[in-house]
């Protein structure tokens, strides 16, 4: 019903009608229509209800930059109806309404406004009881909070994330941006030009301009292969070193530009008067966009507020689109507006000088504009096109470091150029007229090119024209009856801001926080300047002194989906992964690794784990230890390097021997342990714990960046795999394999290492004992690990060899009293607290942490790690992390606990007070259920304290 004939409607394709629903009712628009334009074409002007007062709201800017047009889509809340295209069957609904959009029961709040002044919620809802807020008021307010609804069943979508590099990024394809991009590309730069709109041209596409201007720019642009154009793409922030997110639908281009030209244009400002929010009142540019982009007549009878030339152009456009223009109100008292005024006179349009809009009134329920008052006279109309001038789109410039100023003469915001390689062009730089914008674009390109060391081929920029007459600065006066909105998003009126100042919130940031001005979806686009003016007036300061609040990214709303993208979870697999799966292992993640937890049926976990433990104790087990950190240290100083890094002596360690190694940080706290196998005078093979190896490796390199010893550190964690063959029958299994290594007790004693070949696989074998049993740890190149595994399995078959998993391994080590770094230690554990004096060299002049543990020893030790053994019939077994108490004071905690099938009782490691740490002491432990239990302290190793089994 409001659709204009062709050629109006550059974006729509009238051959492709599209049906969709709004609030359950079916509407029809054309391909290319936005939700708002299609609805407007059908006479549906109310799109939403406001945040606080639930007033009807409609089209304001047609740029997707205000809260008025936010609607709900099935899986997306808070979607801008004036930017989002319609699609077949799209279900659109209003949000934040109690009942329906037409009949919102919460509209009553609008009448109660005087009871709810600015910041009212800070002064009430506190009683009558201390918890009334939590129990009563907050739930009530939470029901009214928010706008759209999240659908927790929304399906997962794959968002795309990619990278883009260019010499010059031009943001905005209006006349300034187009000229900048073309000039830069003609100068040989590699240029990306982006614009949020579906087409290039900016104001050339909806303003009163000669179509030839755009056609010419468009053809020049198309001839440039080094100019990449991204339409429908928002540059949504500026970050350090010209790093910019370009968002193109569901795709994020993480963009790096050597230089940036911001031609982001300006934001037309609404006027402030009573009922300035009624549907039917819109920015002049919004009316033009409706007409030219969508072929939608924005009203039947219009009044235009025209404080400058732009308003006159809007009036002319309206006349041409068949709208009856009842009056053009020009607040300027004298002077001619030049040719536009004459043209309007010629079309019989009345112009009233020194006039402004004093108030508006709506139809029933304020559902649409009915009339406006100009010079005390009410004029019937259904459209009011307003403009209170432009402010430069300051968000991106400010993020790049520009500072906002204010030119009182023109009533406009100004921007300084930032230090970063960023340039401005067009109305963002204050060049509001076409010739100025074109010249500005060329100038910015020349500046960017010269910064990049490229010459401008040809200066096509026209000379800068003299400034046109400035837009009249409309005064802001509070209406005694209010409803003169400064911030539509937050329903804030002039008096709200004035009252905030009266309360003492005089700084602009405090006004923002107290009133929430500028905190809504439009982030102050339409309110920042007016707010600054009101606060300046109320605090007797200048607008420049008051300033605007910080413009933080993003520029416009962006989905979490496009930011998150899609990221596969990092996963690392040992070379034996498929072998474990074939053996029906239950796999568990350990960091990025997946490891066998146990082998067998998930429903019989306890039995499987117990069987695995008993197999190791009584026969032989096989554990994939490939996730262990493996580092090779090579070079003449390798021994000296280890001496500095670890607490034990390694420089004098004989070739072929394996030593425990304990790493401290500078504070003297235990950070890692492992073993070091000296393979040659200049070569050590060192293990580190699975979780710590990345850090240990980095720390080794860091220390050596300072020490500069002649040593190379190679991280072999992935390159080598490890198999631990352990149990009383381990030797028999290995001796059954073809090998050049003598696994005999005398030839290969405990804590020694051998290189050789086992079953055709080159190996490094170490006799160490994490389980407390006779153990050989076989390390080999990872590609050969499956072959070695198969050979060991085959050789072990007659001996009942059982592969075992992580859980059995944890119990086995606990039975032996071996600690796990990170579980049995924390960030301040010293070797003394672990009873690891034996592992700390007293002779070495230096190792990392030495000075600190000596100092800490002098300061005194308060706790010690001990073993606790529970009676076989104990009812209460504390869990891990349960407290050890002295009286009621916590002195320590259980760090590891488990049921030992070997011992037939529960055992634990725990920190206890140092005075209670001798064997035979008893300590009190508080179980998770609050019960206290009294437990005897035992030696660290619950099993085989004399080490006969592992050294056999």
């Amino acid at each position: 019903m409001n659709r204009l004939p062709e050629p109006w409607g550059s974006r729509i394709d009238r051959s492709r009608p599209i049906r969709f629903t709004f609030e359950g009712k079916t509407f029809e628009g054309y391909a290319g229509d936005s939700i708002a334009s299609a609805l407007a074409a059908s006479g549906q002007w109310v799109l939403s209800r406001s945040f606080k007062y639930h007033r009807p709201r409609g089209v304001l800017s047609m740029t997707g930059a205000d809260a008025n047009t936010l609607v709900q889509l099935p899986f997306e809340p808070n979607v801008a109806a004036d930017r989002t295209p319609i699609s077949a069957g799209l279900r659109v609904s209003a949000q934040n309404v109690n009942g329906s959009l037409e009949r919102d029961r919460d509209a009553i709040i609008d009448r109660l406004g005087r009871f709810l002044p600015v910041g009212f919620y800070y002064r009430t809802f506190m009683g009558p009881r201390r918890d009334s807020w939590l129990k009563f008021w907050e739930p009530m307010i939470r029901r009214k909070a928010g706008l759209g609804v999240v659908d927790t069943t929304a399906p997962y979508r794959h968002f795309d994330k990619t990278h883009l590099h260019c010499d010059i990024l031009v943001v905005g394809a209006g006349p300034a941006g187009l000229n900048a991009a073309i000039t830069a590309a003609e100068g040989g730069a590699d240029v990306v030009l982006c614009d949020e709109n579906p087409e290039i041209g900016g104001s050339l596409t909806y303003g009163r301009h000669d179509p030839a201007t755009l056609a010419d720019l468009s053809s020049r642009l198309r001839a440039l292969p080094n100019l990449r154009l991204l339409t429908g793409t928002v540059c949504n922030g500026w970050y350090e070193d010209n790093w910019l997110p370009l968002i193109q639908g569901d795709r994020l281009h993480r963009t790096r530009a050597r230089s940036v030209i911001l031609a982001t244009g300006s934001i037309e400002q609404p006027a402030i008067f009573r009922n300035n929010d009624l549907p039917g009142i819109m920015l002049g540019s919004a009316a033009q966009r409706l007409i030219r982009h969508y072929g939608v007549r924005p009203g039947q009878k219009a009044v235009v507020l025209a404080p400058g030339d732009e308003g006159y152009c809007v009036a002319l456009d309206l006349v041409e689109a068949g709208v009856s223009v009842m009056l053009v109100a020009d607040p300027r008292s004298g002077g001619g507006a030049g040719p536009f005024e004459a043209e309007l006179h010629g079309k019989g349009v009345a112009i009233q000088k020194a006039a402004t809009i004093e108030a508006a009134e709506g139809t029933a329920g304020n559902r649409h504009l009915a009339r406006v008052r100009v010079g005390g006279r009410w004029i019937e109309c259904d459209l009011l096109a307003v403009s209170a001038g432009q402010v430069p789109a300051w968000q991106l410039p400010c993020q790049a470091g520009a500072k906002v100023g204010y030119d009182a003469a023109t009533g406009s915001m100004t921007l300084t150029l930032p230090k970063a390689p960023v340039h401005f062009a067009g109305s963002v730089a204050g060049d509001n007229d076409l010739r100025g914008a074109i010249a500005g674009g060329c100038r910015a390109a020349a500046a960017a090119l010269s910064q990049l060391g490229k010459a401008v081929v040809e200066d096509r920029s026209p000379t800068r024209p003299t400034a046109t007459s400035p837009v009249h600065v409309l005064p802001i006066v509070a209406n005694p009856k209010g409803r003169d909105f400064v911030d539509f998003d937050e329903d804030l009126q002039v008096k709200d801001l004035q009252n905030a100042v009266k309360e003492g919130y005089r700084e602009i940031e405090l006004v923002k926080r107290f009133t929430t001005v500028g905190m809504g979806p439009s982030q102050g686009r339409h309110s920042a300047l007016a707010t600054a003016r009101i606060v300046a007036e109320a605090t007797s300061r200048t607008v420049g002194e008051v300033g605007v609040t910080t413009a933080r990214p993003p520029v416009g709303p962006e989905t979490l989906g496009v930011l998150a993208g899609h990221h596969e979870p990092l996963e690392r697999r040992t070379a034996l992964h498929a072998r474990h799966l074939a053996l029906n292992a239950v796999m568990k993640p350990v960091g990025a690794w997946w490891r066998p937890y146990f082998y067998g049926d998930a429903s019989e976990a306890q039995k499987a784990i117990r069987d695995e433990i008993m197999a190791v104790r009584e026969g032989v087990g096989l554990l994939d230890v490939s996730t262990l950190g493996k580092l090779e240290l090579r070079g003449p100083d390798a021994g000296a390097f280890l001496d500095r890094l670890y607490t034990m002596a390694h420089a004098n360690q004989p070739v072929g021997r394996v030593r425990y190694c304990l790493m401290l940080n500078e504070m003297g706290s235990v950070v890692d342990d492992g073993v070091a196998y000296r393979m040659a005078e200049d070569r050590f093979y060192v293990t580190a714990t699975t979780g710590a190896v990345a850090r240990v490796y980095a720390d080794m390199l860091f220390w050596n960046a300072q020490w500069r010893l002649r040593v190379d550190v190679l991280n072999l964690t992935g390159a080598f795999s490890g198999l631990n063959v352990t149990g009383p029958k381990a030797r028999s299994v290995l001796q059954a394999l073809e090998s050049d290594i003598d696994f005999g007790r005398g030839a290969f004693p405990y804590l020694s290492g051998r290189e050789g070949v086992v079953a055709g696989v080159p190996v490094r074998v170490m006799r160490i004992g994490f389980t407390g049993e006779l153990s050989y740890e076989l390390h080999c190149p990872s590609s050969l690990a499956p072959a070695l595994w198969d050979a060991v399995i085959a050789a072990g078959k007659p001996h009942g060899l059982q592969p075992y998993g992580l859980e059995a391994s944890r119990i086995l080590r606990l039975e032996k009293g071996h600690i796990l770094i990170g579980q049995d230690t924390d960030a301040i554990t010293t070797p003394d607290e672990l009873g690891f004096g034996w592992a700390v060299s007293k002779k070495k002049p230096f190792f990392v942490g030495k000075r600190s543990i000596e100092m800490r020893a002098r300061l005194g030790q308060s706790r010690k790690l001990v073993g606790l053994q529970f009676p076989a019939d104990a009812k209460n077994i504390p869990g891990e992390s349960c407290l050890v108490l002295r009286g009621t004071t916590p002195v320590g905690q259980i760090t590891s606990v488990g049921f030992s099938p070997t011992l037939g009782c529960a055992i634990a490691l725990a920190y206890v007070h140092v005075d209670d740490s001798t064997e035979g002491s008893r300590v009190t432990v508080k179980c998770r259920n609050g019960q206290l239990v009294d437990v005897p302290v035992v030696a660290h190793a619950f099993l085989d304290p004399a080490n006969a089994r592992q050294e056999m």
Partner: protein
């Protein structure tokens, strides 16, 4: 994303690097009093100004030094650790 120019790998996004903090004095542990030793352990350079700090380029495991302004985040220069020794 900030750019950090690695002396070995050239300009890269700063997420390829790991900060190892400001360069610290290296007191002789045997000749340092307890209070000075704890100061060495716990107090790091944090002035609002330019600091020299250690960085690691993670993919290549190369350690180097950078002069950076802790207020503006401007990186003044980056250089190999051997240059520091030459200077001092």
């Amino acid at each position: 994303m900030k750019i950090l120019t690695c002396p070995m790998n050239g300009p890269r996004n700063i997420d390829e690097f790991q900060s190892f903090g400001p360069v610290r004095a290296e007191p002789d542990p045997d000749r340092t009093a307890d209070t000075d030793w704890s100061r060495h352990l716990f107090r790091a350079e944090n002035r609002r100004g330019i600091v020299v700090e250690w960085w690691r380029h993670v993919p290549s495991n190369y350690f180097f030094l950078a002069e950076r302004d802790l207020v503006t985040n401007e990186i003044i220069r980056t250089f190999d650790a051997s240059e520091r020794r030459a200077q001092s």
